[in-house]
Subunit: 362 residues, 2 copies
């Protein structure tokens, strides 16, 4: 299990430090450098990846507090793994209040140390036993999730076709889940409202798919869930989000390749086989959709994507789409289909699009 | 069913307008005045309630557009009820794009018209067929939710003890759900992180309760779910939120009595029998909890609660608690118990508190 590997790494690292001290050498920790300058986009791998830049932190008079905090946090991680606990980032901060001089004054400090340790061991926070505060994502459709009762350990089968108008809420940590499905694809939806519309009409049954509601930029739990589900079942992932710079650059880009400032974990939290169903600037014309004008911040964001984002810089079709959006000066939302009838999206748009996934944006 | 009553009201109202026109009188609509000045807090009823102030809207040259929009929206509501559709507020806005001159330019305009109609018929938006965009709340524990398959109409039983580490996600509209439970109480929790901790340790089994994650200020769906569940099963609701002015004044107050600017629907969306388990200013001393200083906006909000909020003005114990918080100058979070061990909250705090619900704040 990943946890045992992580625990072994923690013990090995801690032993190294103890050995240095016994040999009267200054203990050192080597972290990958975490910044955009140390990130590469490899299309074959499919995510923003750390390059080899490293930062060395040596124990000195000036670094003693951070050094102690890092070791304390490693110990907390080991304890979490040993006791099968999940510790939220906020809880980790509060646990430190009992560490005397090594306590954190503000949570951003403890978050940074957790991120350092993630990068140090090249694992994700969940493998260290740390979980974010926010849950993420709802699921409905042709999927059985296998989990266990937390007390008895008894195996549970959770059938995501059996929740009526409700849904399965993805837990904060999804590492232990297993899946059984015969669905053809995963549809990752931006808004809870659109998810509910498709769910109310059992679109997952008609289209033999799994619906996932991302609720804006997908959380780590949601991305990890979609990634594992897609990878283990060799299943394509189609994104259905608003046609605006935020939808393209933040929601979809984060789902597909991860984010710039957390590149050390994108390997686990990206969905490289995702493609973009819509809403595209072409759809505005093809389906006569009502739009809203791009405001200044939209234009700035779109230009920034074209100029600085390694993902969009690599993909011609995306450059064309974003340039078209800028030229039209318009953005479009996934609810816009309602102009032509509430269920036009179900009866016409999605079936027509899904007939040609080869035309989706990369 | 409520829907049929709503539909009857819509038809009656529309007929009245048609009759006025046939009699060559100016058609009128009478709306309750929606502002804090027209709100009363009645402890027996338990929620912010509209007083009798009314505004009359007469069809004139100046009001013709709003008047037409109101009638169009009533027609959309009737259509939604007839076809068993749920229409998000955003979709309603887009549907209007096909109403020619009566179309809305911005969503806040269409939202206002929907709220007008809610107030006009004294129903909630969900009964009109309109639903908010956002989903709200996760549930785990000793509860079976009864729903139906949306295609076949087949009855579904959703057992909220069988979700492993995941949870049941509350749908946007909960009017049709039914419940079966032998739980002793509902624990409404502010953060997803604390919910996950209690859920991972099957606290709902130990305490024979239902856990609900509110994720901050509870959405309408979440409040309506808790309200119906509590009322139909005569079950107390205990709130477990951060000990700060936002937790008291926004999260708990909204859960219990509703909000000021939506008083026409508080009757449906409040949980009058909720009481406040913690975290209280007394808990800071009793459990030696780490705190954070109140910042200026906290102090301002707390003073505002004491001076202007009809709910807190009515309840002495709350005034004492808020005054104590101001005197200490400190706020406390529900994660703070982690200082004394990750599961202190489960093993000590909650059991000790739950032994004396009569001491909870009102």
């Amino acid at each position: 299990m990943a946890e045992n590997k992580t625990k072994a790494s923690i013990i090995r690292c801690a032993k190294g430090i103890r050995d240095s001290i016994h040999k009267e050498k200054k203990p050192q920790l080597k972290f990958p450098k975490r910044s955009l300058s140390n990130v590469a986009y490899d299309e074959a791998e499919g995510y923003f990846k750390l390059k080899r830049g490293k930062v060395t932190r040596t124990l000195t008079y000036n670094t003693v507090k951070t050094f102690a905090q890092t070791l304390r946090m490693m110990a907390l991680s080991k304890e979490a793994i040993d006791t099968d606990e999940e510790v939220t980032k906020r809880e980790a901060y509060y646990v430190s209040k009992n560490w005397g001089e090594a306590r954190f004054d503000e949570q951003p400090e403890s978050d940074t140390v957790i991120e350092d340790i993630e990068a140090l061991f090249e694992v994700n926070r969940e493998q260290l036993g740390f979980i974010p505060e926010e849950k993420g994502g709802e699921v409905a459709g042709e999927l059985v999730v296998m989990d266990r009762d937390r007390q008895s350990g008894k195996r549970l089968e959770i059938d995501c076709t059996k929740f009526g108008s409700g849904a399965y809420s993805i837990p904060i940590s999804v590492e232990e889940l297993e899946f059984r499905t015969k669905a053809d694809f995963i549809l990752a939806i931006e808004t809870a409202g659109m998810f509910q519309r498709l769910h109310n009409h059992s679109f997952w049954r008609t289209a033999n798919c799994i619906l996932v509601s991302m609720g804006g930029v997908p959380t780590r739990a949601c991305r990890r869930f979609v990634r594992r589900l897609a990878e283990e079942n060799k299943m394509p992932v189609y994104a259905f989000v608003d046609g605006d710079p935020y939808g393209y650059g933040n929601i979809y880009r984060t789902l597909k390749v991860g984010s710039g400032n957390a590149a050390h974990i994108n390997e686990f939290f990206c969905v490289p086989n995702a493609s973009f169903l819509g809403v595209t600037p072409d759809d505005i014309e093809d389906y006569d959709l009502p739009t809203h004008p791009l405001i200044e911040v939209d234009v700035k964001r779109a230009k920034d994507l074209l100029k600085n984002d390694p993902f969009f810089k690599r993909h011609k079709p995306w450059q064309k789409a974003i340039e078209k959006m800028l030229k039209m000066g318009q953005r479009v939302e996934q609810q816009a289909f309602a102009k032509h009838g509430l269920n036009m999206v179900i009866e016409k748009y999605l079936p027509e699009k899904l007939a040609h996934p080869e035309k989706f944006l990369p």
